[in-house]
């Protein structure tokens, strides 16, 4: 029976007294590919930051790999790729190699670093400073870092914003391959439900609270969702999902 990788119970988060997340309860099981969608400001990134311990919820419980968040220590099991780095200094003196090394361990496995650099096609950039790279190259380096620890759970928070279509496709293909071949659990956060329709098997639609949670088949047959999205949008999303998963 698949293990619960993430479980949240009645999660509520407030920012300056305003509830950004209301009573969020859901499970992610081992091997799932979950898409988290919702409009801007719906709490998608906030939810992930609560799960990763970056933000502290007002109430509710979070469990990672069966352990309460406060007791969880096996962080190398999680690879997280944020939407954009919150505080990257343009002169930050970290080379691409040093950034990827962050994902390995404190000593750094040079073979694994090289493998990741090759996988993301950035080996030629390994001694360049991260701040000197284009956004796309930075994101590839960040993905290499996230994958370097061979995580069991991958969390992508809108990772492909401002990337060209080919690089974007490459990103999602890597995630899908890891999910299908190695059973890596993937959570993909995006406001683009179409992208989720292409890749994910499950959908969590947020608008401060859970609007929809379930498989794409349930989503596609839900008259409520047709009312929420409009029948045309629902049809397009479901058509993309069906085409990809034939």
């Amino acid at each position: 029976m698949p293990v619960n990788i993430i479980r949240t119970e009645n999660l509520t988060f407030c920012y300056n007294g305003i509830e950004v997340l209301q009573d969020i309860s859901f499970n992610v099981r081992q091997g799932d590919y979950l898409g988290v969608a919702g409009p801007n400001g719906s709490g998608k990134s906030t939810l992930i930051k609560n799960i990763l311990g970056i933000l502290e919820p007002r109430q509710g419980n979070i469990y990672l790999f069966g352990q309460p968040l406060s007791a969880f220590r096996q962080w190398s099991k999680i690879g997280y790729l944020p939407q954009r780095l919150a505080s990257l200094h343009s002169h930050f003196p970290g080379t691409v190699r040093e950034i990827v090394q962050l994902g390995v361990d404190r000593k750094g496995d040079s073979r694994e670093i090289k493998r990741m650099l090759q996988l993301m096609d950035i080996e030629h950039l390994s001694s360049r400073l991260i701040g000197e790279l284009s956004y796309g190259e930075q994101q590839r380096a960040m993905l290499a870092r996230a994958l370097a620890s061979k995580p069991e759970l991958l969390i992508f928070d809108e990772p492909t914003t401002a990337l060209d279509p080919q690089t974007r496709e490459n990103f999602y293909s890597i995630a899908q391959e890891l999910n299908r071949q190695q059973g890596t659990t993937v959570i993909l956060i995006t406001h683009d439900t179409g992208v989720i329709g292409n890749y994910a098997r499950y959908l969590l639609y947020l608008d401060k609270k859970i609007v929809f949670s379930g498989t794409f088949e349930n989503f596609c047959s839900s008259p409520e969702m047709a009312g929420f999205f409009g029948p045309v949008s629902q049809h397009i999303i479901c058509h993309q999902h069906d085409r990809r998963n034939i």
Binding site: L52, I54, S87, L88, G94, E98, I99, L102
Partner: protein, 275 residues
């Protein structure tokens, strides 16, 4: 007077030893502060040091122990800045500004209460490395060892936090613990730097060598080493030049740091044009 003669004086040897240690401490911590946009903390803590020195002098403590006696107050103030900046209710620069003003205001009022503008207090504004005593050398050595241990032991975590604090937290790194240690060590560095460069120039010692090293666009590890080299060279040449040319040591050290920055900046601009 020849250079050999200058170096044969015990007080010059003491000044060089303490200066090199303090310069290295400030240069290492400065890298983390500059990259995390906390550069002004040095300035704030320097002003708080001014207030703390005023308290110490008003209490009648011998000037010999001023550095050590001022430490607890400055460390407490650094924790207050940490608390204010991490509460997110006040921006970091504003929090530093509040405590900085409080420190300088308290210094002036206390100096006045102690019977006018105290000469001892104002001598700390500009510093005098040549008067460094044995206790201060020992303190510098201990703090240098503490900073070295801090960086070597937590290098991976410090690199992650400096790169991106949120990302570091998502990796399970205890960022709060690291930040508190950084603020406390910076407070001690500010008090020690006061001795060599003076309160007015504490932030210069924390900012200029890291900024010069960052112009080299080299790896993180090499940037820390370059920062230490620039800082210690400025102190060595600054002390010798001040002695030979009869200049104030603090000012000479800071001017040398600015010169290093301008030279590296200039070379960086000119080199690509020559290629």
């Amino acid at each position: 007077m020849s250079l050999i003669e200058v170096l044969s004086f015990t007080f010059v040897q003491r000044a060089l030893l303490a200066g090199i240690l303090i310069a290295a401490i400030a240069a290492i911590l400065g890298i983390f502060l500059v990259l995390r946009r906390l550069s002004l903390i040095g300035d704030g803590l320097a002003h708080i040091t001014f207030g703390s020195v005023a308290v110490v002098l008003l209490a009648g403590i011998s000037p010999f122990y001023v550095t050590i006696s001022a430490l607890p107050l400055v460390m407490l103030a650094s924790l207050a800045i940490f608390k204010l900046t991490s509460s997110k209710k006040i921006h970091g620069d504003a929090a530093i500004g509040i405590l900085s003003s409080a420190g300088i205001a308290a210094g002036i009022v206390l100096a006045s209460l102690s019977g006018g503008y105290n000469v001892d207090l104002f001598s700390y504004l500009f510093g005098n490395i040549l008067t460094v005593n044995q206790t201060e050398i020992m303190l510098s050595l201990i703090i240098f060892a503490a900073v070295l241990c801090y960086v070597l032991f937590f290098y991976h975590d410090l690199f992650a936090v400096t790169f991106d604090e949120e990302l570091a937290r998502s990796m399970g790194i205890k960022t709060k613990k690291l930040n508190i240690l950084l603020f406390l060590l910076t407070a001690i560095a500010a008090v020690l730097t006061m001795k060599i460069a003076g309160i007015m120039m504490v932030s210069a010692m924390l900012i200029l060598p890291p900024l010069t090293a960052l112009q080299l666009s080299i790896s993180f590890r090499k940037t820390i080493i370059a920062s230490v080299i620039f800082s210690t060279l400025s102190v060595i040449f600054g002390i010798i030049a001040s002695f030979l040319l009869n200049l104030p040591a603090g000012g000479t050290i800071v001017i040398l740091n600015i010169l290093f920055l301008l030279i590296i900046f200039g070379v960086k601009k000119i080199l690509p044009a020559l290629r």
